[in-house]
Subunit: 161 residues, 2 copies
């Protein structure tokens, strides 16, 4: 069974987001070994300068990079990435499991300022969900749903009509 | 103050979605008169035929059309619509309030099978959030966040950095 890891920054602040993530984590157990890794966001003052933001992203990047296994297929979520339909996303996940030696897929969702370039370069694919800016905490729910839907498409269940 | 109506199909099944919608509805009150209109989904059997789906969409369409005021600016959410960045979405909302006589913006999110063509044709704009299929119930949360973010961009608050 494939392992899916979601690396994200910060603990979820809203109970409804925690409940949503728990629900999808439970549902994913039928399809994969799912693990959510929540890293602490780097400290930033109010109204941070660009230099302060960059330093925070690099510090978060160090901790993300330390978690990435060379054998995992790594997907960075970023607005400049490629958008996929649910069907194409499912095909990509299936392709990874069949055509690469990866038994682990890692999704990385950065903090509200995103992900540093070093992490993006370490990834195999950059993926975008929307041109709209979504809160990174809500993005966690959207991505879990997308992964859950993708597995349902692969297995041919009725979830994705 | 502008009125924002969200017309959506079905009561929210998950408590976490109800909580999320309540939270954004509360936050939107600072920016607009917000109203969520939940219509009952048309009955569909398990594994419906395309004819049954079309009939359900037309029946839902009748009830949606009955709610649309000619003066409102109407936006249909559908996958073939135009994707906007949050900044462009904010600019569009500002443009509607300044350049049209509409004091009401209506967003329409269909059921899991979408929206019928008659409703789409009655709308002023078709908008898409993502190439990914999102559950229509989760879409409600995503759109409320997008509208809330747009008002914050228009007002120049710190919410959208």
């Amino acid at each position: 069974m494939i392992t899916v890891r979601l690396i994200a920054l910060g603990n979820l602040k809203e109970q409804y987001l925690r409940d949503a993530v728990s629900e999808y984590a439970k549902r994913l157990k039928g399809f994969c070994n799912f693990e959510l890794i929540q890293l602490k966001e780097a400290y930033l003052p109010d109204a941070p300068s660009q230099n302060e933001i960059n330093a925070a992203l690099e510090s978060e990047g160090d901790r993300i990079l330390a978690l990435l296994s060379p054998k995992a297929y790594k997907i960075a979520m970023c607005v400049e990435g490629t958008q996929l339909s649910s069907e194409d996303f499912a095909a990509k996940i299936e392709w990874i499991t069949v055509n690469t030696s990866s038994s682990e897929i890692v999704f990385i969702i950065g903090s509200s300022h995103g992900i540093c370039d070093r992490v993006k370069r370490a990834c195999d694919f950059r993926m975008s969900v929307s041109k709209l800016t979504l809160p990174h905490q809500l993005m966690r729910v959207v991505m879990l749903e997308a992964v859950y839907r993708a597995f349902n498409i692969i297995k041919g269940t009725k979830y994705h009509k």
